[in-house]
Amino acid sequence: MSSTMKNRIIQSIAVAIDCSPHSKASLEAAAEMAARLKAELIGIFVEDINLLRVAGLPFAEEVRLYSATTTKLDVGELERLLRQQAKQARELLQRTAEARTLRHTFRVLRGMVPEQLMQGAPEADILVLGRSGRSPSCRKGLGSTARTALSECKMNVMLMRPGVTASEGPLLLLYDGTEAAKRALSTALEIAGPTSTLHLLVTEADLDAIERCKEVTAAIVSGRAIETEYYHLPFRDSRQLVSFIRMIDSGLVVIGEGMNLPPETLRELIDDIDYPVLLVR
């Protein structure tokens, strides 16, 4: 048992909490994963330096969301609000973690949000955050923090959205036989729940690709009972991939960084699909 524990890819999970619906979903997913993998949970709350700076500017005024009126921003007031948000985040983490008896820590950092998130828990194996946070526009795509984390973070990144569970449901993995894809496969198998179905989307043009993929999967699975489905989809265009993923309607999409996919395809794919994404590094 202990040896398998040690061999785990994920021992510690960092999660960004800002009390937005996306971050709540992130925390929930992270806690779920941590509980199954017996991993530690690290909650990170970042006090946005940008916000504090705005408040410090002489002309800073806030346009209120539901009345469109303006009010003066005040540093003291903002600090108080941030402290309160941090407290709420801590309580949320505590509640979630204690319900599952998880090891957990909570960190409050100040600075640029993406940077602080990436540096806040260097010991963590995975960073879980919302697809979009409390961003100004109600956009559908990725938030700026998520985008930065995807492109710059050194560890595995999982982007969550509310309404979809990460690992209890089905998983979908892009596979092309590369090392990155194999890493992604191992990680996916590790986080997959006991009842999850693993959909493998083989993107190699080669006709034997599926067979090879099956072999590799069987080796990694090594006797563990997991339902797998294989699909051969030799496309490299993000739009086709997105429509196929939507058709399968699986949950978490697992992608290995360094696969034989053009970076823009990958970005477009993550941008467009409305599912949580795990980028394995």
């Binding site: 700076r53 500017l57 346009v63 640029m112 109600c138």
Partner: protein
């Protein structure tokens, strides 16, 4: 004046000959009861029910037991099937004014169908609506509308963000909204760095931010409008989907009721409301009060409050009726008459809705006939006024009494009134009718026809047979032994006795019914298979015995001399009067001693009863009449110079009635003349100022009372009773008296004038005045005249002496 002949036995009792009946027992009769002897009332009922016009309602008046109710019912049940079946009525929700439930009129039998149809519709919608709204097509369209709003909003902001970025300004989300700030490489410029910038640069930035902020504000000002538009779009979609789902179901119902305009209009309103409130059909069985709250065991709303309003509250279903309804309301309380709005307690408050409107007797009888007992109606608070109001306004308006008199204060309803068209028949005693007619101005307007039921009917072969039919029908209906004709004849005779008239029969059907039951009991006790005359006699005897306690105690007191009644000797100024005691249903006669004393005086006859206020006004009137007679007959030419006192000896209660006035006159004549009266005789009868003896009531009881006492003391042929000749037709005496008369032990004299009576009582002729006005010597009248003359002279002498004139 010749003394009248004693009555013959045949005159004392009008026998009913069993031989006059053609049947052996009542079992041979067909069991149908005919209404006999009530032609006048029947005529009135026929008229009242025949005139279809306002106010021609009927009041059937007569003593209780005369068969008012059964007569009216029998009549109405006979004519009702020939009349048109009235329409059904129901209450439905009023979509425009929920406080005023709408009354719908439907052809007979259709109300229940509409109710079923609506229930079925609602039930169907609970499965059809969710299916329509969970269809993929609907979901996709709804999502589409929602997302287009989001896109619109985000693209507006994104455009602004791009604009800002071009000027190195970033849109930042603050805890309460948005703010703009200058950025360098994604980082907001720190305040110190900013202040270190040149003023022109700062002004430029601030100006730019001002512009951006204004744009943002104008974008955000549009958000509510967009949201409203989106909501409207979704609503429109919902409306479209629900209308489409509803249409075929509604069409089905609509075609069924297309001929009834009001119902069609109602169905249109239902459809409109269902489309607007489609949501209520989506969550089936969802407890609206939440899971913790106990659903009340009785919820007027049933499963779901909101869909209750599509129910149909059927007030009147005449589907199974044959002709017009005939309703007898036994408890005419206001809410039983005009209906009621009930309330249900829910979570400690009283609530109601149109399904809790309850119909009253007026609803049920609408289009037909309603029979009510007047006394019960008047005893119920507000019921009389409510009935009158309904009849006057010709509509039934349901009002909650509690609400009306502010006893409760909850949300209540004012249901639309229902037009009223019916005939009301009130049953009651005459007294009630006359009182209402006198004191209630509305009464004569609303109850124009009075059906006056007779207390009794003429006695003839037809009514004899009607009695037989009545007895037979009671026997059949109540599963009694059949009555043989002898028993029926006895009952007919008793009917005459109840009527107090040998030539009439009582119409008190209730009394006859009781009689029949009792007689049958005796027959059954004796193990007979049919009721015979002996059983009726035994029943009568038992009745008499049961009622005779006081009578016997009084007679006992007379026998022992506690109450002084002489039935043997002859006495001056003393006579046996006869009085009747009424105790509840029973009455009996008993003799009482009346005495008179005279002395010199100024012509007054003092009625001691009146002086001590124990005599009623009629009694006093009788005494005054007799003193009028006395004065005019014997003292026309001279002052009546006596003072007389009259008294009922040993009377401790009151005395009322004038039936003793002739008796008192005899006592007075005896006292004045000094001629003794035979105490073996008793007298009854009233007298007028001419000395004629007039009829009185209770003659049978009076004779029997005296006979019982005499017979107990021993009859010797001298005993007898003087009755007014006009009362002979009332005689229905007991058989033992008839037998005593037959054997000459007891006599009854019919008397028409005082002169006849005094001769029988004293054995001295009364005497008739000759042409000069003088009375034959030795007669009673002569003696009275002489005595009075002597008294007048004596008084005159006294008066002169008193005035100081010298004695001659």
């Amino acid at each position: 004046m010749p003394v009248p002949e004693k009555l013959l036995p045949a005159q004392l009792f009008n026998r009913c000959d069993p031989g006059s009946f053609e049947f052996g027992t009542t079992a041979e009769l067909d069991g149908a009861t005919e209404i006999a002897g009530q032609q006048r009332a029947l005529e009135a009922i026929r008229l009242g029910m025949g005139i279809r016009h306002d106010g021609f309602n009927l009041f059937a008046l007569g003593p209780s037991g005369t068969g008012k109710e059964s007569t009216v019912r029998q009549f109405l049940n006979a004519i009702a099937p020939g009349r048109a079946r009235p329409d059904d009525w129901c209450y439905v929700y009023n979509f425009s004014k929920p406080r005023n439930p709408k009354a719908l009129r439907l052809p007979p039998g259709m109300a229940c169908r509409l109710s079923d149809d609506m229930d079925h519709l609602v039930e169907t919608l609970f499965s059809v609506m969710p299916a329509a709204f969970s269809s993929e097509e609907y979901q996709a369209r709804e999502k589409d509308i929602g997302e287009s709003l989001l896109e619109k909003q985000s693209s507006a902001i994104e455009t602004l963000e791009t604009d800002a970025r071009e000027h190195s300004i970033s849109l930042i989300r603050t805890p309460g909204g948005f703010a703009f700030a200058p950025v360098i490489e994604e980082k907001v410029i720190a305040p110190d760095d900013y202040m270190a910038m040149k003023k022109e640069e700062r002004d430029k930035i601030e100006k730019e931010i001002d512009r951006l902020r204004n744009s943002l504000q104008s974008i955000m000002a549009q958000f509510p409008k967009w949201q409203r538009e989106t909501a409207e779009k979704i609503k429109e979609l919902n409306r479209e989907v629900s209308a489409f789902t509803l249409k075929p179901l509604m069409e089905e119902i609509r075609t069924r009721y297309k001929d009834i305009e009001e119902v069609s209009r109602y169905i249109d309103e239902v459809e409109k409301d269902m489309i607007e409130n489609f949501g209520q059909f989506l969550e089936k069985d969802a407890p609206e009060d939440g899971p913790i709250m106990m659903p009340p065991p009785f919820s007027p709303a049933g499963r779901k409050r909101s869909v209750v309003r599509y129910r149909v509250n059927v007030m009147i279903d005449n589907g199974k009726l044959d002709g017009a309804p005939v309703i007898l309301e036994d408890k005419p309380a206001t809410q039983n008459l005009v209906g009621d709005i009930e309330h249900a307690a829910q979570m400690g408050t009283l609530i109601t809705d149109f399904t809790l409107i309850k119909p009253g007797a007026l609803h049920r009888a609408n289009g037909g006939y309603l029979i009510l007992d007047a006394r019960r109606l008047l005893l119920e608070p507000f019921a009389w006024e409510a009935l009158k109001k309904a009849l006057r306004t010709r509509q039934i308006r349901i009002e909650s009494l509690a609400q009306l008199y502010s006893l409760v204060s909850t949300i209540s309803l004012e249901p639309e009134p229902i037009p009223l068209d019916l005939k009301v028949v009130l049953l009651g005693e005459r007294r009630l009718y006359y009182m209402l007619s006198q004191y209630d101005p509305d009464f004569n307007e609303l109850f124009k026809i009075a059906a006056d039921f007779e207390n009794d009917m003429e006695r003839n072969p037809e009514t004899h047979l009607a009695y037989a039919h009545l007895v037979g029908s009671i026997a059949v209906r109540d599963k009694l032994l059949p009555f043989d004709r002898g028993a029926v004849a006895r009952i007919v005779e008793h009917g005459s006795r109840m009527a107090g008239d040998a030539t009439r029969l009582s119409s008190n059907l209730q009394a006859v019914r009781d009689l029949v039951h009792e007689a049958e009991y005796h027959a059954a006790q004796n193990g007979r298979t049919q009721v015979s005359a002996e059983d009726v006699e035994a029943m009568r005897e038992a009745q008499r015995y049961r009622a005779s306690r006081i009578q016997e105690r009084m007679r006992d007191a007379m026998m022992r001399g506690m109450i002084l009644i002489d039935t043997a000797s002859e006495q001056v100024g003393q006579i046996n009067g006869l009085s009747v005691y009424s105790l509840g249903e029973q009455s009996f006669g008993s003799p009482s001693r009346i005495t008179a004393r005279v002395r010199l005086g100024k012509g007054e006859v003092i009625d001691i009863e009146r002086e001590v206020e124990m005599g009623g006004p009629i009694h006093s009137k009788g005494v005054m009449i007799l003193s009028g007679f006395l004065g005019s007959r014997y003292a026309a030419e001279q002052p009546l110079s006596l003072s007389a006192t009259l008294v009922f000896e040993q009377s401790y209660g009151g005395v009322e009635g004038d039936s003793a006035s002739s008796t008192e006159l005899y006592a007075l004549l005896s006292a004045i003349s000094g001629i003794p009266i035979r105490q073996c005789l008793a007298v009854t009868g009233s007298v007028n100022q001419h000395g004629q003896v007039q009829a009185i009531g209770g003659v049978n009881e009076k004779i029997e009372g005296f006979f019982d006492l005499c017979s107990e003391r021993g009859l010797d042929g001298r005993h007898g009773v003087l009755i007014p000749a006009s009362n002979v037709r009332n005689l229905m005496l007991r058989q033992d008296i008839v037998k005593a008369v037959e054997s000459g032990l007891f006599s009854i004299w019919p008397v028409t004038h005082i002169d006849e009576g005094i001769e029988i009582l004293t054995g001295v002729p009364a005497g008739e005045a000759d042409a000069s006005g003088a009375w034959p010597v030795g007669t009673v009248n002569a003696k009275v005249f002489e005595r009075l003359k002597a008294m007048a002279e004596k008084l005159k002498a006294f008066a002169e002496k008193k005035n100081g004139e010298p004695e001659k």
